[in-house]
């Protein structure tokens, strides 16, 4: 085939199909499972990667892979061709490790059957009143969750943040879930009243008719870009370029919006493209200090694990 794509995004398959129909280039889509498994596979392949393109949620892992020389820098020309919105521009990494194709963020997922309208949390701090009934992902297992944790420490202060979380996530049963789906499940069955979750996941639940809402904390939240990276060893650079062009084109973006799974509810970052109806885009973003986040990654993950998981 002309391209091998490793991904963990719901729309990657349809996009590849549309790309194939348009250009006649064949794409093998490899989706081992969630982001974790995809990364595991890439890690095992090590210095002999079998993919041309990897397309995932999360910027930190992309940076990491680029630093390990698993990925090569995205050619500057590729960025120039895209009409990024401001939000989009802010997501373009200095290292050119990846090309952002969209984004999402972390929000508070609330079960409306369990939480009356007047008791809705408004900020991370409000979660304290739901202590013991808050579902959250383990940052050790989920890239987006770490991004949230780092952002949370950035907005709330590390020590205050730790104190707040310690008071909030008092139930280890829900504090270290392994995926967004599990957070959803905990909230939907009512085992937990609220959850800390990726907002696109929440909106897909809402669209499916589940009784939940997404609440954005007043402190602001950190964005989680979807990144597309290029293998350092690719032999198909031409095809890769064409694929990037297609993804960032209106045609490609239309495919990415045409579905009802989680990832289809992303926030477009290209001018003229609008998110799926019902998807909140008016969000106060905070910009993550990548340096601080990666400097403390080990330490904070370890703290989380020891405090809430083990």
């Amino acid at each position: 085939s002309d391209l091998v794509l490793y991904d963990a995004l719901d729309f990657a398959g349809p996009v590849a199909k549309a790309f194939q129909a348009k250009t006649g280039l064949t794409v093998d889509v490899v989706e081992p499972g969630s982001t974790g498994e995809t990364l595991g596979k890439i890690a095992a392949e090590g210095n002999n990667p079998q993919f041309d393109i990897v397309w995932l949620d999360g910027s930190a892992v992309m940076e990491r892979m680029a630093a390990d020389h698993v990925l090569q820098a995205v050619p500057a020309a590729a960025y120039d061709k895209v009409a990024f919105t401001d939000l989009g521009k802010s997501l373009v990494p200095q290292s050119h490790a990846f090309l952002p194709t969209g984004t999402s963020t972390t929000a508070i997922e609330v079960n409306t059957k369990k939480v009356p309208a007047d008791k809705m949390p408004k900020s991370w701090a409000d979660l304290q009143s739901f202590a013991g009934s808050v579902a959250a992902k383990d940052p050790n297992l989920s890239g987006p969750a770490y991004q949230w944790l780092a952002g949370f420490f950035q907005t709330n202060g590390v020590d205050a943040g730790k104190a707040l979380l310690t008071k909030t996530l008092t139930n280890k049963t829900f504090a270290g879930l392994s995926s967004g789906g599990k957070v959803d499940k905990a909230v939907l069955t009512g085992d937990a009243s609220v959850g800390i979750n990726q907002d696109s996941s929440i909106f897909s639940k809402i669209a499916a008719g589940e009784p939940v809402v997404a609440v954005y904390p007043s402190e602001g939240s950190v964005s989680l870009p979807q990144g597309l990276g290029i293998s350092a060893k690719t032999q198909h650079m031409d095809a890769v370029r064409k694929f990037i062009d297609f993804v960032t084109s209106a045609e490609g973006q239309a495919v990415m919006l045409n579905g009802d799974d989680t990832d289809f509810f992303y926030i477009p970052i290209i001018k003229g493209i609008h998110a799926k109806p019902g998807r909140e885009t008016n969000i106060t973003y905070t910009h993550l200090d990548d340096a601080a986040a990666s400097a403390h990654e080990k330490e904070w993950k370890q703290w989380y694990k020891e405090t809430f998981v083990q």
Partner: protein, 606 residues
């Protein structure tokens, strides 16, 4: 193919005596050597590559791989209080479940094979159906059923104390037992089929009561099978991730596999930590295998002899309805309840609204059944891979078992220990091993066949994952054959291959078919290997299902899983029914005595 001579000499002369004469040795050893090489290549090497990183952490680093020896990862793992507690948890859980499962499975096997309970045929399919349900579905089902907001609570059928105590050791043992007991039924049931009634008859005439007969005669004679079932379940529990990531996680009962998954889900994967913890798992299983060998020093008795011994059915008299009720209760808990939960999920729109009328929909089922979808393609692919894997794995296991059967006890123990050990290693570790061998190791990575990234390596991985089970099941059966049966064939000038096909295979056909079906069903739903070795040409069904689950579309996922189960079940039935004719003669012959003695006043009645 003269390797049996070596075996014969090993048997006759004792172990360790090598024949003089270089060329003769070569010729004689070629057969076994080839087979052991396959075993090493399939399981040994991939596992070794992951495990060795526990002491050579830099071996497969993306950059500047180094083979410096370091005990840092091991030290890290052994010094962690958490790892220590999860080892204890794993051990505690494994041992408990191994006991309960073997007990339940053994009782069930006796019930359906030796007792004249009503609905016997129907009840005997229950373990197969339970086995058809992949473990991640069972885990999901129990979460759906038992969680505080789950289905049972919605119907008010769940007392709160039960709900809360369920998420803990009790619940884990309960769910594991119900989902693993088919294994015990297969292993013990196969042994039971070879154990005629003559020895029992002799005991009855000695005035021994039924209980005593089971404790002192049948029990010890079945000991190899019981031990095997115990170890296999133990290993299976150790490697389980489905429950470890749901119920265990929700009840904060950390087990080793979860640690391995945690180490394997980071980027870059913490291979040293995964390897070190996998090493601990392997150690635990080897410990149990060796303990078993030491406890049961004597060679296992040969139950199928050149003289025939028919088996007899017990008449339970007034107890037979009670027995049936017990069997049905097991069926209800292990099969009906979880499947209903899955079906309910497949038939409802949203999880949050629960089981109310307006929430029901057929959309998921319709989507799962519509043709030419990705799910359908994946399912067909999986069925094909599974069929291929089952053929290869059971054939290979038969060859290996025939070889091992006559090998020295030490070698036997070693191979069984390693096989079961590899059962205990989470599939993802084996999957990593495969990638390391076939994508990293010079000399392997450029082989056109099998090739990483294509179906051939996936099938090979499946075979490796299934081989230990096939081996265990078939080896247990071959161990029951009296040596004179194959000896007689040798004297008739029948060569090794034909002997295997015409004598050994038919006599252990039941077990080979069992191994085949076990492999087929497991492979259709096998997850970690599918994920790691997913072919570029298209994904097999389990990864599709899992992706839906992880993206929280469990309604559709449940529907597809149900369709997959039905397909796998039909596939298995298509294999079983034609083959059953060949298994029949001997068994029915054995049952003649039984069938025509409808009023045997015996059995478990006190």
């Amino acid at each position: 193919m003269q390797h049996t001579d070596v075996a014969a000499s090993a048997r006759g002369v004792g172990t360790g005596r090598l024949l003089q004469g270089g060329r003769a040795v070569l010729v004689r050893c070629a057969g076994p050597f080839a087979i052991y090489a396959v075993f090493a290549l399939l399981i040994g090497l991939p596992l070794a590559l992951v495990l060795v990183q526990a002491v050579m952490p830099g071996l497969f680093a993306v950059q500047d791989g180094s083979n410096i020896l370091s005990f840092e990862p091991l030290a890290r793992v052994f010094n962690s209080a958490h790892v220590a507690s999860s080892v204890l948890h794993s051990l505690e859980l494994g041992m408990l479940v191994a006991c309960t499962t073997t007990a339940l499975g053994g009782a069930f096997a006796v019930l359906v094979q030796r007792c004249d309970i009503p609905l016997r045929t129907a009840i005997s399919t229950v373990p197969w159906l339970v086995f058809l349900t992949p473990s991640y579905l069972k885990a999901l089902a129990w979460v759906l059923l038992m969680s505080p907001g789950g289905y049972l609570a919605q119907f008010g059928l769940l007392p709160s104390w039960l709900g809360s105590s369920f998420f803990g050791l009790t619940g884990l043992v309960f769910v594991h037992t119900l989902s693993l007991f088919p294994l015990a039924v297969f292993i013990i049931g196969n042994a039971l089929a070879g154990l005629g009634s003559e020895l029992e008859d002799a005991a009855r005439l000695s005035g021994a009561a039924p209980l005593r007969i089971w404790l002192r005669i049948n029990g010890p004679l079945l000991a190899p099978a019981i031990a095997l079932s115990f170890i296999a379940t133990f290993a299976e529990v150790l490697s389980d991730f489905g429950l470890a990531s749901t119920i265990a996680r929700m009840s904060n009962f950390g087990v080793l596999t979860y640690g391995i998954y945690a180490a394997a889900s980071e980027y870059p994967v913490d291979f040293p930590a995964a390897g070190a913890q996998a090493l601990v798992l392997l150690g635990l299983v080897l410990l149990v295998v060796v303990a078993d060998r030491l406890l049961r020093r004597r060679a296992d008795p040969r139950l199928i002899s050149g003289r025939s011994r028919p088996a007899r059915l017990y008449n339970l008299g007034k107890w037979h309805r009670l027995a049936m009720a017990a069997a049905l209760a097991v069926a209800l808990l292990a099969l009906v309840l979880p499947l209903t939960a899955i079906a309910a999920r497949a038939l409802t729109q949203t999880l949050g609204h629960g089981l109310i009328w307006s929430n029901f929909t057929s959309a998921n089922v319709v989507a799962a059944l519509s043709l030419n979808t990705e799910a359908n393609d994946g399912l067909l692919r999986s069925l094909f891979y599974a069929g291929l894997t089952a053929v290869i794995a059971s054939a290979l296991a038969l060859l290996l078992s025939a070889q091992l059967e006559r090998a020295s006890p030490v070698l036997r123990t070693a191979v069984i220990g390693l096989s079961l050990g590899s059962v205990a290693i989470p599939g993802i570790v084996l999957g990593f091993g495969y990638i390391l061998v076939w994508n990293r190791l010079p000399g392997f990575r450029d082989w056109p066949f099998p090739h990483y990234g294509n179906g051939s390596l996936l099938v090979m991985g499946y075979v490796a994952a299934a081989l230990p089970y096939c081996l265990v099941v078939i080896l247990a059966a071959i161990g029951q054959l009296a040596p004179s049966l194959t000896d007689a064939a040798r004297l008739n000038g029948v060569g090794t291959v034909r002997r295997l096909l015409a004598i050994t295979l038919p006599l252990v056909l039941l077990s080979v078919v069992t191994a085949f079906l076990l492999t087929f069903i497991r492979t259709v739903f096998e997850l970690p290997i599918s994920q790691m070795l997913i072919p570029q040409s298209g994904p097999p069904a389990p990864t599709l299902i899992l992706r839906l689950f992880s993206h929280d579309r469990d309604g559709l996922a449940s529907a597809i899983a149900l369709v997959a189960m039905a397909a796998a079940g039909i596939g298995a039935a298509l294999v079983w029914y034609p083959l059953q004719r060949f298994v029949k003669p001997r068994r029915s012959a054995g049952h003649v005595h039984a069938g025509s003695s409808p009023i045997a006043e015996t059995g478990t009645s006190p």
